[in-house]
């Protein structure tokens, strides 16, 4: 007998509204309906009423966590239109801010995943380790989130030289903490039992759904816009694309943890280069950009969740004539359609969260019996509780062995 469990559109623990309806047969999920569009704000149209220089402020508010990636992709698009290359200094600063963002975003995800399976210690730890990253971002850009750093032709401000030792110190500490977290995930038998072989999205399915970012790389599907499109400074820096094979929730966590190390490596190299350059002048930071001629440009950047794509067209005016944005979660959320099938309800929350959608859901969960129309309502807390109870059960049975 198939029942439906709506999840959404509000979720007590985070972010944007989103609506899933699980069709369940007993404990097994047999189908899922996904409705998005709750936070539709019409940003693309708004952007066409802002000047070229104002748009970065708007697009960084597409998503609070990817608030470096969207403006990055946008300025790359305009620079593609103009066919200019920004100064080396600006490229390094861009990479530093973007990678700091990746660090705090991945830590945030690991924490939430921990919360979902009932490891609240992981949640608290990750968010604690995330704070120093935000402090550095505040010192470098002036704000904890929404950095306002990117600008067509360069960046808005320099990384202060006196901050560089602080950045290094923070990175060294974070490296140790991240190491500890990674080992904790790799070693814990309960986490293995809860996440291995759960929500598998293999190479072929990644390809079919056009999965992006860590979701795809966990399944062995090798995409990374920073490498594939030779974004700015990334071409000359020494870093690797992290790939796993199985595509389950475990691998998605591992990919993100290992990417943190890569991000730290990238920031270290950029900081070294900046230090060698010494303090810069205004001309080093941003190119003089006059009129934007008619034409069109594409910008692609690898956000923490996958590839962000921006397209702009100009008719020679002072505003974009068309601005198209595509965020990675759009592809990734749809993969849930496949990856939750045939897993237990208790795993569904974890699987849908594993793609790190800019995800958010429920003020309540209601179950509908499709035959009798009988309906009962559980709170979203119950869904998390269900998941946490499963962990507890596994933990107990492992201890019994």
């Amino acid at each position: 007998m198939v029942k439906k469990i709506p999840i959404g559109p509000f979720h007590p623990i985070l972010e944007e509204p989103e609506f899933f309806e699980l069709h369940v047969d007993g404990e097994k999920v047999v189908d899922i309906d996904i409705t998005i569009g709750w936070s539709h704000r019409g940003i693309e149209l708004l952007s066409e009423s802002k000047t070229w220089d104002q748009v970065p402020f708007l697009v960084e508010r597409v998503c609070g966590i990817c608030s470096a990636s969207h403006p990055y992709a946008y300025v790359l698009a305009v620079e593609d239109l103009l066919q200019v290359e920004v100064s080396k200094r600006a490229q390094y600063i861009r990479a530093i801010v973007a990678e700091l963002e990746r660090l705090h975003s991945h830590l945030l995800w690991t924490g939430l995943a921990g919360h979902f399976i009932g490891y609240n210690t992981v949640f608290m730890w990750c968010w604690k380790y995330r704070e120093p990253v935000l402090d550095i971002l505040e010192a470098v850009t002036g704000n904890r989130n929404h950095y306002a750093t990117y600008r067509v032709g360069g960046v808005r401000r320099d990384v202060p030289q006196e901050e560089i030792p602080n950045i290094r110190k923070m990175l060294d500490e974070l490296w140790k903490k991240n190491d500890m977290l990674t080992n904790a995930i790799l070693d814990d038998p309960v986490i293995h039992a809860r996440t291995k072989g759960v929500g598998v999205l293999g190479w072929d399915k990644c390809r079919e759904y056009g999965a992006l970012g860590p979701t795809a790389r966990a399944g062995g599907y090798d995409v990374d816009a920073r490498r594939d499109h030779q974004t700015d400074a990334y071409a000359e820096l020494d870093w690797d694309v992290v790939l796993c094979q199985n595509g389950d929730v475990f691998d998605k966590a591992v990919v993100r943890q290992l990417e943190n190390f890569e991000a730290i490596k990238i920031i270290r190299q950029c900081v070294d280069k900046l230090e060698a350059m010494g303090p810069g002048t205004e001309e080093d930071l941003v190119l003089e950009i006059g009129e934007i001629p008619p034409g069109e440009g594409l910008g692609v950047y690898e956000a923490p969740r996958g590839e962000v794509f921006h397209y702009v067209r100009s008719n020679g005016g002072n505003m974009p004539m068309r601005h198209k944005i595509r965020a990675p979660s759009f592809n990734n959320i749809l993969t849930n359609e496949y990856s939750v099938l045939n897993y237990a309800v208790a795993d569904a929350g974890l699987i849908t969260a594993a793609v790190d959608p800019c995800y958010s859901c429920t003020e309540r969960v209601g179950r509908v019996d499709t035959r009798t129309g009988e309906r009962w309502v559980m709170s979203e807390g119950d869904l998390i509780k269900l998941s946490q109870e499963k962990t507890e059960m596994i933990r107990r049975s492992l201890r019994g062995k």
Partner: protein, 137 residues
């Protein structure tokens, strides 16, 4: 002071709604609960259901799709409830004011007790907002 208000003041339970925010405000709200700020020390807890809430934290401009849900949430909330709007968006729609799918700030639809400005407000500011509202009780 009624018994209900007295109880509310001791340990306010918070429910948080995103009415179309960019989710940064929501992250900062969550951030206030984690070790650096740790408001749980004072009995401030994020709850999973509106029916348990004493304080409603709302972030984001109200989008067309979300409005019916927001109204229903407010109706379901046990009264007295304190409504705090977090972020420039919720206060005055912020940068999204001219969007075609944005139908106005939160206080156009439900009564609001306090506004916390900022984009996003820092966790300290959010906590200060909650404390100020409790101080008025």
């Amino acid at each position: 002071m009624s018994l209900a208000l007295k109880a509310l003041k001791k340990s306010p339970w918070v429910f948080h709604v995103n009415t179309g925010a960019c989710n940064n405000c929501d992250i900062e709200i969550l951030d206030a609960l984690t070790p650096r700020f740790d408001v749980e020390r004072f009995g401030i807890v994020l709850v999973g259901s509106i029916r348990h809430a004493d304080v409603l934290l709302i972030s984001g401009p109200v989008t067309r799709n979300v409005l019916p849900r927001l109204k229903r949430l407010y109706e379901q909330a046990p009264k007295p409830i304190k409504v705090i709007v977090v972020g420039a968006c919720g206060c005055r729609c912020g940068i999204f004011r001219d969007g075609y799918n944005i139908i106005g700030p939160v206080d156009k639809y439900i009564p609001v007790d306090a506004y916390v400005p900022g984009c996003p407000p820092k966790p300290e500011t959010i906590i200060a907002g909650v404390v100020k509202v409790l101080g008025t009780l």
